[in-house]
């Protein structure tokens, strides 16, 4: 076991310093060292997307990134999506559309969807399906998830137009 390393990073807008072993994934650091358990472990191989976080603006499976690689990066997790004034529009639309059943994949979907809307505010249904293809949901058949993201995008562009 090699010695622990100090890593300086920014998580959900807050300067964060943590100690981790070089073999620990970012997901493990978030969950076990920083108690940010909203990111979920479904596979540890980058296939299910339940651990998706946004690193420097890009949706990323945190199970495929080492904790030490977070040095100097800006990381957004599900815990930072809502604001003191209320839920993010994606969170609201997921609830209104019943876009979750068991909810284990939901944080990952929300982060992937946020990354999509941040770079493409008016995606087509095909673009949404493409952007979310790295996130597995076994409960919903995706119908209501896709509808929730479409509605969130429309709401956001409506708010911009107003």
């Amino acid at each position: 076991m090699s010695k622990k390393v100090v890593v300086e990073t920014t998580i959900n807008g807050e300067a964060t310093e943590f100690l981790c072993e070089p073999r620990q994934s970012l997901l493990e650091v978030l969950r076990d060292e920083l108690e940010l358990t909203g990111s979920k472990e479904g596979c540890l191989t980058g296939d299910c997307g339940a651990c998706t976080v946004i690193i420097n603006g890009r949706p990323t499976c945190s199970c495929l990134v080492l904790g030490v690689e977070a040095q100097g990066k800006k990381i957004d997790t599900i815990e930072g999506l809502a604001r003191p004034e209320g839920l993010h529009v994606l969170q609201r639309k997921f609830l209104e559309h019943a876009a979750l059943q068991c909810g284990i994949c939901t944080p990952g979907f929300l982060m992937s969807a946020k990354a999509l809307l941040d770079r493409n505010p008016s995606p087509t249904e095909a673009e949404i399906r493409y952007a979310l293809a790295g996130n597995l949901c076994r409960c919903t058949g995706y119908d209501k998830i896709v509808r929730a993201v479409i509605d969130a995008a429309n709401t956001l562009s409506g708010a911009r137009a107003a």
Binding site: G42, T45, D47, L95, H97, Q101, I104, R129, L132, G141
Partner: protein, 780 residues
């Protein structure tokens, strides 16, 4: 989305679509699933798993692992008590506790790739993993048996020397020996029979006879199994885990460890999917033993590799189906032979597979033989309508072929044979009021079915399915609080939004706003018994308990009103949350008014109900019909789903959004089962696709929107008409897809999954045979 009540004015809350009560926790990451629990001083457990498929364990040496820094304990089969063979009915499951014990931890023999042989508790999961590599196990490999067909041969290697082929009347019947008295891999044989088969086939104008196979598939829940155990000095243990049945975990863990149930408390965490796979125990007894041995809390979580190798998938199956029909499209006789792979220990869904197949049809002459067969694969677990999807695939494919031979539209063919109230189920007893015909009519009238499908290599298929749905035991408390708000407490784990349904049922009865009702899921010591969240039973049975508990609270509140008014309770009327005194101008009282006066009128009001809503199959029978359009790429054999829809009789939809969600989810799992998913073993019996890249489940890029039509034919055995919704939707899709492929390219594929190589082979074989026919015709 709309706030419109979809119950046609019959109800105030039922049929609306409120935001689920646990929703905010789940979209913010706050909800605590099993793996999210951490306790001070906690150790991490890991399991050593067999790399062999079938082998004797000659020795296990744990000395090096125990000396590894950071390791606190190692357990092996030697640490487990011997559990006598007993068939326990645990909710909808029938469990042999002896075999459960052997599955949780191997003793002298491993029976599949991934079978647990030892477990370690250490200061971190990495240290525990290092220790696993230091455990020395000496194996003597034995020849493996991987399929039911191989395992049923007389000369097949024997997995369990004590096993004899038993002829059983039902799945809970121990049975009587059948065939020669020698070890067998056939654990059970059940026969369902009625009428005169020979006469039935003699009356047929068309007979279709085919053989089918389906590959083992996994439930594919995104959250791996987990357990955290805390053993205290008075020999009591608390288990935190993600499970579909906390009371099951208590019963089964107690059985495996031969300890009194009363010393175990199970706290159900939020659960990240189950689909039947989380109705038994794997890690819980190990975590408990490690916690006992170390005196520290021990947490265990599986990797995806472990989930696929060692938890129960569903059975691989084989069927021989022969069905006859006369020229008018009436089915005259049906004979079905079926074998289900149980995995390493008896207990496949071979009985429900037989009891549900052909359930949608009224057939006078019927013979079904079904077999439970052990093979060197992980012990199967329940998977959404266990047994029914495979047997429906086989029989519905033949039904579609018969409809074509008779020249009758497939929905019309089904209508002519449809089971209705009074029709005999395959297992004998007649159906009560059911809604199969209504699902067919809803499909026939749907925009999808009435639309025209244009284009080359495109086809449409329909199929139907039947599933029992469950009753079983449930308990509920309805607490009236001093501010007039209400909490509803049950022990039914919420796997897909059932908290919302429970709150809505209480709000409906009590006439309060659903936002003023807080639904909770309590642990095994905090509420009366609740059987598993499975068998489509929560909204049905736990909903029934909540309904009665709310009425119990209402009865007590009426007494309080009568006390305040100093009148006979019979004079108190109640409607829409308001109590009034009959024939008097006394100012009415709301539940909020009464809440404020609970202390002065006798203390808290708690409505209670606990009940057994009936045996599995006796209440709430459900039917569904699916329609799928596909396009086949003849170059690659890839099948694209163009359009998919489903109609399902749910009795009564409490929260229509979550009802639709179940229908869509079940249909999509069926699409995965039909086209992609498969346990892929190599020749040595080693599972080769142990990750979600190779065990490929549908992604949103593979799918269109999924159209649903909710059919409501109220369940006569339920005060709200609820039938349950979770399972029957996975039964029809596979046969619908196989038929759509046939309509698209003219080949009938009788083996699942219909993946590109298999379909390409079928297309090539078909074009070769066409070419041969043309060649021989030319030669003539």
């Amino acid at each position: 989305m709309s706030d419109r009540n979809e119950s046609n004015g019959e109800f105030r809350v039922v049929g609306t679509r409120p935001i689920r009560h646990d929703g905010e926790d789940k979209v913010t990451g706050r909800a605590k699933y099993g793996a999210d629990y951490n306790l001070p001083g906690m150790l991490h457990g890991k399991v050593l798993r067999s790399p062999h498929v079938h082998a004797l364990i000659k020795s296990i040496n744990t000395a090096k692992a125990l000396r590894h820094p950071g390791v606190h304990a190692v357990i092996t089969g030697a640490d487990f008590p011997e559990v006598k063979g007993a068939m326990a009915q645990v909710g909808e499951l029938v469990v042999n506790t002896h075999y459960l014990s052997l599955n949780v931890m191997a003793r002298d023999k491993v029976l599949y790739d991934g079978h647990a042989v030892a477990a370690v508790a250490a200061v971190s999961k990495h240290v525990a993993e290092e220790a696993l590599e230091l455990i020395e196990v000496e194996y003597e490999p034995l020849p493996p048996v991987m399929t039911a067909e191989e395992a049923m041969r007389d000369d097949a290697p024997v997995l369990l020397p004590e096993l004899r082929q038993m002829f059983m009347k039902s799945r809970v019947d121990p049975g009587v020996p059948e065939g020669p008295d020698r070890p067998s891999n056939i654990a059970g044989h059940i026969q369902l029979q009625r009428g005169d088969l020979e006469a039935g086939f003699a009356a047929a104008d068309f007979i279709v006879e085919r053989e089918f196979r389906t590959a083992a598939v996994h439930q594919g829940y995104i959250e791996p199994q987990n357990a955290l155990a805390v053993w205290d000095a008075s020999d009591h243990v608390v288990i935190y885990c993600s499970t579909q049945g906390s009371f099951n975990v208590r019963t089964l863990t107690a059985a495996v460890l031969t300890m009194p149930e009363g010393r175990i408390r199970v706290v159900p965490a939020e659960i990240g999917g189950g689909f039947g796979g989380k109705t038994t125990v794997y890690l819980e007894p190990l975590a408990v033993l490690l916690a006992k041995k170390t005196g520290r809390p021990v947490k265990m979580s599986m990797t995806r590799n472990e989930v696929l190798r060692a938890t129960g998938p569903t059975s691989g199956t084989m069927f021989r189906v022969k069905i006859g029909a006369d020229r008018t499209g009436k089915i005259t006789a049906a004979q079905v032979w079926m074998a289900y792979e149980a995995g390493a220990f008896p207990g496949s869904p071979f009985a429900p597979g037989a009891m549900t197949t052909l359930g949608p049809y009224h057939i006078e002459n019927l013979l079904i033989d079904t077999f439970d067969v052990v093979v060197n694969r992980p012990k199967v677990a329940a998977y959404r309508a266990p047994g029914a999807p495979a047997s429906a695939f086989a029989c519905e494919c033949v039904i579609n072929e018969l409809a074509e031979k008779c020249g009758i539209d497939p929905i019309e063919f089904r209508l002519r044979n449809a089971a209705r109230q009074g029709s005999p189920q395959p297992a004998g007893p007649p159906f009560k009021k059911i809604g199969f015909i209504e699902t067919l009519e809803a499909m026939r009238e749907s925009r999808h079915y009435r639309s025209e499908l244009i284009g080359a290599n495109r086809g449409r298929g329909v199929a139907s399915g039947f599933w029992f749905n469950g009753g079983l035991q449930s308990s509920a408390d309805v607490n009236i609080h001093l501010d007039g708000t209400v909490s509803v407490v049950t022990g039914s784990v919420d796997i897909g939004g059932s908290r919302a349904s429970m709150a809505m049922i209480a709000a409906e009865v009590l006439g309060v706003d659903v936002k003023d009702v807080r639904p909770l899921v309590a642990d095994t010591d905090a509420i009366g018994h609740n059987d598993v969240t499975g068998g489509s039973r929560v909204t049905l049975a736990t909903g029934m308990a909540v309904y009665h508990a709310a009425h119990d609270a209402l009865r007590q509140l009426k007494l309080r009103a009568a006390q305040l008014w100093d009148c006979d309770p019979q004079e108190v009327d109640f409607a829409r949350g308001v109590f009034t005194r009959r024939g008097k101008q006394t100012p009415p009282l709301t539940i909020k008014d009464l809440g404020a006066r609970l202390i002065s009128t006798g203390g808290p009001v708690v409505g209670r109900a606990s009940l057994n809503a009936g045996a599995v199959g006796a209440v709430g029978n459900a039917f569904a019909t699916a329609c799928v359009d596909v396009e086949v790429d003849p170059e690659t054999g890839k099948v694209q789903i163009l359009r998919a829809s489903i109609t399902q009789d749910v009795g009564r939809a409490i929260h229509p959004s979550y009802v639709e969600g179940q229908m869509q989810g079940g249909l999509v799992q069926g699409i995965g089962w039909a086209l992609n998913e498969e346990y892929f073993y190599d020749q040595r019996g080693i599972l080769r696709n142990t990750g979600l890249l190779d065990y490929r489940m549908p992604t949103c890029l593979d799918l269109p929107m999924i159209e649903t039509t909710i059919v409501e034919v109220p369940n006569p055995d339920h005060p709200l008409g609820i039938r349950g919704v979770g399972e029957v939707n996975i039964v029809p899709p596979m046969a619908a897809i196989a038929e759509a492929i046939y309509q698209a390219v003219g080949v009938r594929v009788t083996e699942l999954p219909i993946n590109p190589p298999r379909l390409l082979n079928a297309l090539r074989a078909s074009s070769r045979s066409t070419a041969n026919q043309l060649a021989s015709a030319a030669a003539d």
